[in-house]
């Protein structure tokens, strides 16, 4: 009750009387401080945006943007890119049969070869991607169907994966490692590239499979359970994902360091794509010498071990060869956009 009456009293200025009691005491006035802040007179910059101030700014923006746009456009144009669809929708496609007769259960892999020709030589390092279309890796339920703890090598999560992995959490009573829908749908086509030289001989192009994953993913985010011990032992008591043909510790028979959760193909796949049409880095073709192009123009042959079904949901599979620049892959949009916006600004500024 006193609360309100007290306020009233205080505001009424009774303390002035109290201060009089002290006699010599300094009378504390209720006068507000005359500070710039309290009187709302802080020195302020008033951005009065008038045509006079804004248009020169536009002009400057235009001047900056147009060169950037030109730079982007040029560097994007310098990037060589080659793309080939091997889904096998068309009857003429070599992979038509494989696509048609696909079943997860077949033990014998279906093989098909797609020949293609590069019109221009690829000079620098060439990145080999596989591309998928109409594949919604960003589907909400799909994205979360994984267990990061398990992938980070956590023992308890290995044995008892997160509920998010349902329905790919356990199989036949055993926890799935790696669990979840993402891992389960791992892209498992094998691509091999051959250069057909003028004699008609198939030259295998060496494909580097290391260094395709992010450094942080490979060294921080993904870890095998049990450290450097034998992976077979480490993954004992777990079951392979339903769609997989081999367990996670046998993903790369050629390189024991590239097995288990730290298999780079696996890591790349686990980084879910943002958009339904995407590409993922598959291999790197390194430049051997400065004199010869990495991929000279000519005829090539792409050998595919066709394991991955996409036709059922109208998906497409592609193989992409591309060089990159400082700004990433081939993309004319940015350059054009910069030039457009820059010129709009420029013209506004000039007027």
């Amino acid at each position: 009750m006193m609360a309100s009456s007290y306020n009233a009293k205080e505001e009424d200025g009774h303390n002035s009387g109290a201060s009089n009691n002290g006699g010599a005491g300094v009378v504390k006035s209720k006068k507000p401080d005359n500070t710039a802040f309290k009187q709302q007179r802080l020195p302020a910059w008033q951005p009065i945006l008038t045509a006079g101030t804004v248009l020169p700014a536009f002009f400057v923006i235009g001047l900056i943007f147009i060169p950037i746009g030109i730079g982007l456009f040029v560097s994007s144009n310098n990037i060589k890119e080659f793309e080939i669809d091997y889904t096998g929708v068309d009857v003429n496609n070599p992979c038509y049969n494989c696509a048609k007769n696909f079943s997860w259960n077949s033990t014998t892999p279906c093989l098909c070869s797609v020949p293609f020709t590069l019109e221009q030589p690829f000079e620098s390092n060439v990145f080999m991607y596989y591309g998928l279309s109409n594949f919604y890796q960003n589907h909400r339920r799909y994205v979360k169907s994984r267990d990061d703890s398990q992938l980070n090598g956590d023992q308890s999560a290995l044995k008892n994966p997160s509920k998010e992995c349902e329905p790919y959490r356990t199989s036949e009573g055993q926890p799935i490692a790696p669990c979840g829908a993402i891992a389960n749908s791992l892209f498992n086509d094998t691509l091999e590239l051959y250069y057909i030289d003028s004699n008609g001989t198939k030259n295998t192009i060496p494909l580097v499979k290391k260094g395709i994953a992010w450094w942080t993913d490979k060294h921080v985010k993904f870890r095998n359970p049990g450290g450097n011990n034998n992976l077979t032992v480490a993954f004992q008591g777990t079951s392979k994902p339903v769609n997989w043909r081999k367990p996670v510790y046998e993903l790369d028979p050629s390189d024991p360091e590239n097995n288990g959760f730290i298999n780079e193909d696996f890591i790349v796949w686990m980084r879910t794509a943002a958009l339904p049409t995407f590409r993922k880095l598959y291999r790197i073709i390194q430049k051997k010498s400065s004199t010869t192009p990495t991929l000279p123009s000519g005829k090539y042959l792409l050998d595919i071990t066709y394991n991955y079904p996409v036709l059922s949901f109208d998906g497409r599979k592609r193989m992409i060869l591309s060089t990159i620049s400082w700004m990433g892959g081939k993309n004319p949009f940015l350059g054009i956009a910069y030039i457009t916006v820059g010129s709009i600004c420029f013209f506004l500024g000039v007027n």
Binding site: S5, K30, P47, S185, V220, T272, A273, L275, A337
Partner: protein, 1360 residues
């Protein structure tokens, strides 16, 4: 049997309780009664809302009452449903937990403070009588129960509402200070219950067996009804005067004993304790519609997603990436709907409500700290009592103002008077007021009453030289002496300076009119005056009139007297041994008339005892120690008397005559001037009478006796001071008597029989006294002229007397009208001599009325009205109430700002109109429409007529200009119609059938003045305008009569002035001067409104913009509710990273400098018509947000489509550029940028980038589905990221930038030109108005005479 009986007995008790409460002493033996006492609430108070246990459930429950919180919880709960879950549950809980816990923390803190104060109050100690120990024992407040006897000493706080049974004061009174209750610092007198056996030295509580019956607890502070039933069955009425209220302080009384009747929460103080005011602002209502639009938008977006997802799912066949294959597309769509609601939740700006509250607090802070709203004199700032309607200040369209105390100072100063039909113009007095005016402007110091001597002296020289006035010299000389006294007093007694403001110097020192003084002197010293003979000898009748008049001024009031040496104590009464009263009686008789019976045909006085014995009796009751031994002059007779009897001193004569020539030397006698001089300012004599020991003594004695009057109303104080100037000094007051100094007679004790206090229905107050000289019972009445003039009837009796009397009435009426025209407040003074039988008869009825419980007010009113008849008019007074400083300027500014100003006052029409002229509400060119009629039909006709007239006038005026927009053309400081309506007509006009006419009429008028209106009418008018016209109203007032109006209006403003705190207590804002309104409305209101409106728009923009980014992404993830950001970032984006900038924007933004706003009040109209916050602006903002989000999403999309970008890397540039866009958008929208803005913006940006970077480094397995490890570090190491951000930001902001630039380039010019055209328009309008006025010269316009210092001399352009 017993068990059966008990409840029934209890029930019967409860039955009784329902009607009234019975209180008996707590030691009563009666079983039933003591049980009854236990049913009453104890004195323990608990104002806390929660206890330790109940806090969580209760607080949660309370918080859930807010819709916003329910929405939050609903979302959080939704997130726990697995099929729709969008984020992990803990993330979804974050916002609600944050909001709830912040509110809870605030509540705990507040409650703890309440608990602490409760506890300290509850454990205060007081002395309670214990029947076991037969003594007073210390008990804590909380243990006090109803029926207990409590003893209190001086300066103790009263623990509960108690009936005053005993006071150490011999007269049985006790003083309390109610500052804790209502903020009024003057003392209130309380009276021991009459006819109690206790009042005496040897009183014992044990013997007290009375029963108190009183009404049930209620919150009416001014009412208490009941009676005490003595064991013998005798009933004594109780009233408010017998009740000591909780939390008041006992003052000036050594000991009081009371019986507790209401305790704890049932006390009046507690029942009056209502929580803070909550008003919903107009903008908030607006906002709610926009929020509804947001909800609609949200639902549309969610439905789109739901349908899209269903369709998308339907077209899919056995996809690899599908996790859940069983759910049908329709059901999945349904699930997605809810998921989307979670994902897009920020579209409903829940945090907006919290933000608005914070912003308003910030705005309040600045309003509170504004130097321009600080009053030096009172050392008071503006009080902001309602925290949530700051922006309504920027929306006001109608302003209703009280007059007295609001427009005027409410410092009443006696100006002139008329007695016996003779006008005394008090020229010197008028001059003095002007001098004061000049002084005041020069000294900008503190309270005028406490002045430093040196400045006063320098001024005195100035005023002396130019005015040749002895008076100013005297006043200032007096002041130097006074100063010490008052300082001393201040040290000894902490009185708020405001208390003294009642008796400010200017009010105290009335310069008497020489003519009147002469007449009065003649009466005092008849032999001298008679011998003069040169000037007209006033008739004896006139002399009685004059004496009676001043006696009435001195005693017909409720003024409490105190002296500085003994602050607030009742001035000891027996000071001077009286001159033999018999002498005076003789003198009266010698004057050969029976002055007090001259006009009555009543039977000769029947005195119940000689006056001397009476006075002795009266004074015997005074304290024995009240003689002040230090005062050496007490043995002297009245100083004035002394000086009059003194033989003339030639030296002085010379002096005075030369001095007096400034005024009216020609007809003034030396003696008179001297007498006047000595009387009014004995101090002044010091200069020229140094050698005169008697004078010296006089001076001392008089300064020592410097009396302080504490009056309930400033009018009373002014009148008492006026009387004092004529040496009719009120020296002391007790419950039964008054001590009055009369000129030439000395101190007289006047037996006070009754006070019939002022009430607004009767419009008058009366005192019933036994005249000290004649012994008659005399009623002195003071009141509004209309009432008194009606009651003042021609007395039956001699024809000559009748003739004289009707002449007096006529003359007085003429003077009254003159006063009113001058803008003076008039009060009529009347008296009535009551015969003993008549008095006895009346007394019976009065006592009956006093002791009745039910309809006591009515009975008292009736009784008072019975007595106040057949009055004899003595005279009338004119009191000046000057305009406050800068009122005309303020009103002009407000009118220019498009605010219609109405004055609602209880004053007379003439006074009201005059004030309206003075404060420039009325211009000389304005057409005055007066509505005053006696019946409803007449009123209807009149309104109709006036309407036609206004329309005609308007038609002729607006023909050439755009027709139809008369509302605008008549506003804004140019000529127009002003409606004056009186209370009676208003009553008709407010009725159902006529109110639309009234409104229509008033809309055509520039201003409306309602005079003679009651408080209820004031609130009715405000309500009518508010509801029927749907406009924002503001009411400003200072007194209790304005409370209802203040409460009804959208914004209520109280002026903390002279009349207590009721207006302030019920207001939203309390200011100390009227002029503060212009800064408050034009600057703060304008700024607050535009700030808040812009902030809200910005907030909505921000949310729409960000949420749309997520929405666009749905088109690329199969409408599955996926997001491209980490969930924490998503939640915190709104809650943290972008939450502070809008607050700063809302608190600090100044879209126009304050000076400009003050100089160009027209700018206020832009806000007033809601140009800042109208639907189309809202939609433009939303569209802009859509555009920006499109850019912000699709630029990265096109740049990254088909590449190997992953979800989070895709979201990273989008988020970053969204942040930049949002922050830079604010920079564009801000009108001012200070270092605070810059700091906050930079910190906001930095906090985002810091957070995502650290999160990306350290969060390895946390936040599972969207694990951000390494994303940001990688992204920010790539040039593409910056290229994207730059392009996105620039492209998104381009249109807004362009728009603003174009607006700013075009708008200022537009504003300027419009202001100019306004001026041209107004000129043209004024000319037309003048022409029209000439053609309608018959229209009624009041002649105006400018005598009020505040009045403009040029306003008296009379047409008729």
């Amino acid at each position: 049997m017993y068990s059966l009986e008990c409840p029934s007995r209890l029930n019967s008790i409860k039955e009784r309780l329902r009607k009234k409460r019975t209180v008996v002493p707590s030691f009563t033996e009666d079983e039933e009664l003591s049980q009854l006492l236990k049913l009453y609430k104890g004195n323990k108070i608990r104002t806390t809302k929660y206890s330790l246990l109940s806090f969580l459930p209760k607080n949660l429950f309370e918080q859930l009452h807010r819709l916003a919180n329910v929405y939050f919880i609903f979302l959080a709960a939704l997130n726990f449903v697995p099929v729709v879950e969008a984020f992990q549950p803990q993330i979804a809980l974050a916002p609600i937990i944050l909001v709830l816990s912040m509110t809870a923390a605030k509540d705990i803190w507040e409650d703890y403070r309440r608990f602490k104060s409760d506890h300290s109050i509850n454990s205060l100690l007081c002395h309670v009588y214990s029947s076991k120990q037969k003594a007073y024992i210390d008990q804590r407040w909380k243990d006090v129960r109803v029926g207990d006897f409590v003893r209190l000493s001086c300066n103790e706080i009263i623990p509960a509402d108690m009936l005053l049974l005993y006071s150490s004061d011999p007269r049985g009174v006790c003083y309390i200070e109610t500052a804790n209750l209502d903020g009024e610092t003057n003392l209130k007198q309380r009276q021991v219950v009459s006819d109690l056996p206790l009042q005496g030295v040897e009183f014992s509580l044990e013997s007290f067996h009375c029963r108190v019956e009183c009404e049930n607890p209620n919150n009416d502070l001014g009412r208490f009804r009941g009676y005490v039933e003595h064991p013998g069955g005798l009933r004594v009425g109780l009233h408010n005067n017998n009740l000591l209220l909780r939390s008041c302080t006992v003052r000036n009384t050594e000991t009081v004993v009371g019986m507790v009747v209401y305790a704890g929460h049932e006390t009046k103080a507690m029942m009056n304790n209502s929580g803070p005011r909550y008003k919903r602002s107009q903008l908030e209502k607006h906002l709610n519609t926009d929020i509804l639009w947001c909800v609609l938008l949200l639902i549309i977006m969610c439905l789109t997603a739901a349908i899209g997802h269903g369709v998308w799912l339907n077209n899919l066949k056995d996809p690899l990436f599908q996790v859940d294959t069983e759910t049908s597309p329709a059901l999945a769509g349904f699930y997605v709907f809810w998921t989307m609601i979670i994902v897009l939740q920020v579209l409903i700006p829940i945090s907006l409500y919290v933000s608005i509250e914070i912003v308003k607090l910030g705005q309040i802070y600045f309003i509170h700290n504004d130097l321009a709203l600080y009053n030096k004199q009172l050392d008071s700032r503006i009080q902001c009592r309602a925290l949530n309607i700051t922006e309504d200040l920027g929306q006001i369209q109608y302003l209703f103002s009280d007059k007295t105390g609001t427009l005027t100072e409410n410092k009443m100063v006696f100006r002139r008077c008329s007695i016996y039909g003779v006008e005394y113009p008090h020229e010197e007095n008028a001059r003095r007021l002007e001098v004061y005016e000049a002084e005041k402007s020069e000294e900008a110091g503190r309270s005028v009453t406490l002045k430093s001597g040196c400045s006063g002296k320098s001024l005195s020289c100035r005023s002396l030289s130019c005015q040749r006035s002895s008076v100013s010299l005297h006043t200032l000389a007096a002041e130097t002496d006074e100063e010490e006294e008052e300082e001393e007093e201040e040290l000894s007694n902490p009185i708020h300076p405001r208390t003294n403001a009642f008796c400010s110097r200017v009010a105290k020192e009335v310069v008497p009119d020489p003519e009147l003084v002469r007449k009065l002197n003649w009466f005092c010293c008849p032999e001298l005056a008679l011998s003069d003979g040169s000037s007209g000898t006033p008739s004896s009748l006139e002399l009685t009139y004059i004496t009676d008049f001043f006696l009435a001024l001195a005693i017909c009031n409720s003024v409490v007297v105190s002296s500085p040496s003994q602050p607030r104590h009742v001035v000891p009464e027996a000071r001077t041994p009286l001159k033999s009263l018999e002498d005076f009686k003789l003198m009266f008789q010698r004057l050969s008339f029976s002055p007090f019976t001259a006009l009555s045909t009543l039977s000769p006085p029947q005195m119940k005892g000689s006056p001397v014995s009476f006075t002795r009796r009266l004074f015997a009751r005074g304290k024995a120690g009240s003689f002040t031994p230090t005062n050496s002059t007490t043995d002297g007779s009245d100083p004035g008397q002394e000086s009059n009897l003194e033989p003339p001193d030639p030296r002085r004569k010379l002096d005075l005559s030369s001095r007096a020539e400034g005024g009216d030397a020609g007809r003034t006698e030396h003696r008179d001037t001297e007498a006047e001089d000595a009387k009014t300012n004995p101090d002044g004599a010091r200069q020229d009478a140094e050698g005169d020991p008697i004078r010296e003594v006089d001076r001392e004695s008089d300064t020592n006796e410097e009396l302080l009057y504490e009056a309930e109303s400033p009018d009373e104080a002014a009148l008492v001071h006026a009387a004092q100037a004529y040496r009719c000094t009120l020296r002391g007051r007790s419950a039964e008597g008054l001590l009055v100094d009369l000129p030439g007679i000395g101190s007289l004790a006047v037996q006070l029989l009754h006070i019939l206090p002022f009430d607004s229905n009767r419009k008058k107050m009366s005192v019933v006294v036994r005249h000290p000289l004649t012994g008659h019972v005399v009623v002195y009445t003071k009141g509004a002229d209309s009432v008194i003039m009606d009651l003042a009837e021609t007395p039956k009796g001699a024809e000559q007397a009748q003739e004289i009397y009707s002449h007096i009435r006529e003359q007085t009426q003429i003077h009254l009208d003159g006063y009113a025209r001058e803008g003076l407040r008039t009060l009529c003074i009347a008296k009535k001599v009551v015969g003993e039988e008549e008095y006895e008869a009346w007394l019976k009825g009065q006592l009956l009325a006093e002791s009745s419980i039910e309809n006591r007010e009515e009975l008292l009113l009736e009784s008072a009205q019975r007595l106040e008849t057949n009055l004899t008019l003595l005279g009338t007074t004119g009191i000046v109430d000057r305009l406050q400083e800068e009122v005309p300027e303020t009103i002009e500014a407000l009118q220019r700002a498009g605010i219609k100003v109405w004055i609602l006052t209880g004053d007379k029409k003439e006074t009201a109109i005059n004030i309206a002229y003075a404060c420039r509400l009325l211009c000389p060119n304005d057409q005055l429409l007066t509505a005053s009629c006696g019946s409803k039909d007449a009123c209807a006709v009149l309104l109709e007529e006036l309407k036609v007239e206004v329309q005609r006038g308007e038609a002729s005026l607006t023909e050439p200009t755009a027709a139809g927009n008369h509302g605008e053309s008549s506003s804004g400081g140019m000529a127009g119609f002003v409606l004056v309506i009186d209370g009676r007509t208003l009553e008709w006009a407010l009725q159902e059938e006529l109110k639309s006419h009234f409104l229509e009429l008033s809309q055509g008028c520039k201003a409306v003045i309602c005079c003679r209106s009651t408080p209820l009418q004031k609130s009715q008018v405000v309500r009518l305008v508010r509801d029927q016209l749907g406009v924002m109203t503001l009411a400003v007032g200072d007194g209790a009569n304005d409370v209802s109006m203040i409460q009804v209006a959208d914004v209520g403003i109280g002026i903390s002035g002279q009349e207590g705190m009721q207006a302030v207590m019920s207001s939203d804002f309390a200011i100390s001067r009227f002029k503060h309104l212009s800064k408050l409305l034009l600057v703060h209101g304008h700024l607050c409104y535009s700030r808040l409106a812009n902030m809200i728009l910005y907030f909505i923009y921000k949310n729409v913009m960000y949420v749309n980014l997520l929405f666009w992404y749905q088109f690329f993830c199969g409408f599955s509710g996926g997001v491209m950001t980490n969930a924490w970032v998503l939640i915190l984006f709104n809650l943290l990273f972008t939450s502070v900038p809008p607050l700063i924007y809302g608190v600090l933004d100044q879209h126009m400098p304050a000076d400009t706003l003050m100089e160009l009040p027209e700018l206020y109209q832009a806000v007033q018509t809601s140009k800042v916050y109208v639907p189309y602006v809202f939609w433009i903002t939303v569209l802009d947000a859509f555009y920006q989000s499109l850019v912000c999403f699709f630029v990265p999309y096109f740049a990254l489509a088909g590449s190997s970008v992953d979800v989070l890397s895709f979201g990273s540039p989008i988020n970053a550029s969204a942040l930049l866009i949002i922050l830079l958008h604010q920079v564009i929208e801000s009108h001012t940028l200070t270092w605070i803005h810059a700091l906050v913006l930079v910190l906001s940006g930095a906090s985002y980038f810091g957070f995502v970077l650290l999160f990306g480094v350290f969060c390895v397995t946390c936040s599972p589905p969207t694990n951000p490890v390494g994303v940001e570090t990688l992204e920010m190491s790539q040039p593409l990221f910056y290229i994207l951000c730059a392009l996105t930001t620039v492209t998104a902001l381009l249109p807004r930038l362009l728009f603003r630039a174009l607006c700013n380039t075009l708008r200022p010019a537009a504003a300027l030109t419009s202001a100019q055209t306004d001026k041209v328009d107004s000129e043209r309008y004024r000319k037309k108005m003048q022409r029209w006025n000439l053609s309608h010269s018959k229209a009624n316009r009041l002649p105006v005479c400018a005598d009020n210092p505040g009045l403009e001399p040029g306003t008296d352009t009379v047409v008729s």
